[in-house]
């Protein structure tokens, strides 16, 4: 009875807000995908679409970074089975990035808190207006404030808390300013925190700092194959603040965007070091006595892959589907939002990359999987990009979904034998 009432409430709430979208095949850019793959626009104009999650029935939940009609989560449904999301309903009065589905709940984050919503058998949120707040009061100081989330198989939720600083300088982002000794902000930011997924009203003291030394992680995923957390870190900006060691070009190309497998207690090495993908070494940050060459010998994980600098990896997804060819099975897709910290050089990224995996390790070079989101040949400034890849999700049929937080376009990439 209660369920039924809730469902009715939910349905009626949604009816009020729902709208039918004209079939919008806004293919304003040509997305290049490997031979045998096809790409289509399944929704458009959704808003600042950050991370996405798909239910077993193929419905999509999208977390928005700017409220649309006062709401920050969009639910998309394909009512006639033509593959296009033609129904849209929204709820949640907060902006944010993180969204994840697990064990009958939808988890979503604002830039301060983490919430969950119980789902019915059809994957619909039962109480869209009264989520359970599981974590609150996380640091949000208007820099690296997004709280990405993922769950393991043991009832825990992992939350990224980005550092509210570029490189822990005495004066953030000021030329020549040195690093604060012992970088104190690491006590409450610059790492991954672990909380119970089913316990209400947790704060820092109820959680555990699972891993530290990560400047800002936006893309993260739980690898089911080896039951481990993997993250993509956004490397530091503006090495040109130390012009005696780095010229504009060097700074545009350093440091690497790094991919890690993160064990409990793992340390990414920020802010004391960074990874130079050209010499494949950890280097001491100039703020902490480095000169662009001195190798870092302190504790820090080695990355699995060092990608080109500043491309802003915002989405990470391990592919477990059966639709794509064998090579993709258990490999990692990464959505690169695209750079800004390379000017006056051309900007880079704005694509989805792939890293093949075998036995829990990368088994070959990374490659560009889907490209062309920016829609221009030369990207001088990020404002020129038409679309910017951000979130990734795997559909029940094994297709890959990519969200764009610039125009709110959702792409679906499928393989055809």
């Amino acid at each position: 009875m209660r369920l039924k009432k809730n469902f009715l409430l939910f349905a009626s709430l949604f009816m009020g807000m729902s709208c039918t979208i004209a079939q919008n095949k806004n293919n304003d850019v040509h997305i290049k995908v490997p031979t045998g793959f096809s790409n289509s626009v399944v929704a458009d104009g959704v808003g600042r679409a950050r991370h996405i999650a798909i239910t077993d029935k193929g419905d999509l939940y999208v977390k928005l970074n700017r409220l649309e009609g006062g709401k920050g989560i969009v639910y998309l449904h394909d009512s006639n089975g033509d593959g296009i999301y033609d129904q849209r309903k929204s709820f949640g009065d907060y902006v944010g990035t993180g969204i994840y589905l697990k064990n009958g709940y939808l988890y979503a984050s604002s830039n301060d808190d983490v919430y969950r919503y119980k789902l019915d058998a059809n994957g619909l949120v039962i109480h869209p207006d009264s989520p359970e707040r599981i974590v609150s009061g996380l640091i949000n100081r208007r820099q690296h404030e997004s709280k990405s989330i993922v769950l393991d198989n043991g009832g825990n939720i992992y939350v990224n808390i980005g550092a509210y600083s570029n490189s822990c300088q005495e004066k953030d982002r000021q030329t020549g300013s040195m690093g604060v000794p012992g970088c104190p902000l690491l006590d409450s930011a610059g790492g991954i925190w672990k909380f119970k997924a089913d316990q209400m009203n947790q704060t820092y003291k109820d959680g555990e700092r699972y891993a530290t030394g990560f400047r800002n992680v936006v893309g993260l995923d739980w690898n089911q194959k080896d039951n481990s957390l993997y993250v993509m870190q956004h490397g530091r900006d503006q090495l040109t603040m130390f012009p005696q060691y780095y010229d504009e070009k060097t700074s545009a190309n350093l440091p690497a965007e790094t991919f890690y497998k993160v064990p409990k207690g793992g340390n990414g090495g920020w802010p004391y070091s960074y990874y130079d993908q050209n010499v494949k070494k950890k280097i001491i940050s100039p703020e902490y006595g480095g000169d662009g060459k001195k190798e870092y010998t302190g504790t820090a994980l080695d990355p699995l892959v060092g990608f080109p600098a500043h491309m802003a990896p915002n989405g990470l997804l391990f592919y477990t589907g059966n639709q794509f060819p064998e090579k993709y099975k258990n490999g990692a897709f990464i959505a690169f939002h695209g750079s800004w910290n390379r000017s006056p050089e051309l900007q880079e990224g704005y694509y989805v990359a792939f890293v093949p995996f075998k036995d829990g390790k990368p088994s070959g070079d990374w490659e560009i999987f889907a490209d062309g989101f920016a829609g221009v040949e030369e990207i001088k400034t990020p404002g020129m990009a038409k679309h910017r890849p951000c979130g990734l999700a795997q559909g029940p049929d094994g297709s890959l979904y990519v969200s764009d937080d610039s125009k709110g376009t959702i792409y679906k990439i499928s393989y055809h034998k």
């Binding site: 600042r48 970074n65 700017r66 208007r142 820099q143 404030e145 004066k171 953030d172 982002r173 000021q174 030329t175 900006d237 503006q238 040109t240 800004w340 910290n341 000017s343 006056p344 001088k380 400034t381 990020p382 404002g383 020129m384 910017r388 610039s406």
Partner: protein
């Protein structure tokens, strides 16, 4: 959509206008090798502001605001001097967008502040009066 097209057109206009300006600047100043607030301001801009606000002043969506016809750029000189000298971390709203990054205080001389503000106020399609060194000095002394 209309606004989107309009803003693209505006952007193209701004870019062509500002590069056109540069050509004139260089031609004018090359023979006498005389630096102007605009040429000096461009040097300061390139070193200190461009990483965040970008070559064409368009900024970075959601991160660093544009410097194109904003009320700040065209408005009060006192506020502009304050933004540069003290830094800025208020969460400005420009056309409904917020920018989640703090702007650090800029370690610039009064001359450099005057030059870069004059440059920004007369580039990227902006048109506003120059900011003199005397004005910077006077406004800075009121800040403390």
């Amino acid at each position: 959509m209309k606004y989107f097209i309009l803003s693209i057109l505006l952007g193209v206009l701004i870019i062509s206008f500002s590069s056109f300006r540069d050509v004139i600047e260089i031609k004018k100043s090359a023979p006498q090798q005389k630096s102007t607030p605009m040429t000096r301001g461009k040097v300061v801009y390139t070193q200190y502001c461009m990483p965040c606000h970008q070559v064409d002043g368009s900024g970075v969506p959601n991160l660093n605001p544009p410097l194109i016809n904003t009320s700040y750029v065209l408005g009060s000189k006192a506020t502009l001097v304050q933004i540069l000298v003290k830094g800025f971390n208020k969460g400005v709203e420009i056309d409904g967008d917020f920018y989640s990054n703090p702007m650090p205080a800029q370690a610039l001389s009064d001359q450099q502040v005057s030059d870069v503000l004059t440059f920004v106020r007369n580039s990227f399609g902006n048109k506003a009066t120059a900011v003199t060194v005397a004005e910077v000095k006077a406004l800075k002394s009121k800040l403390k």
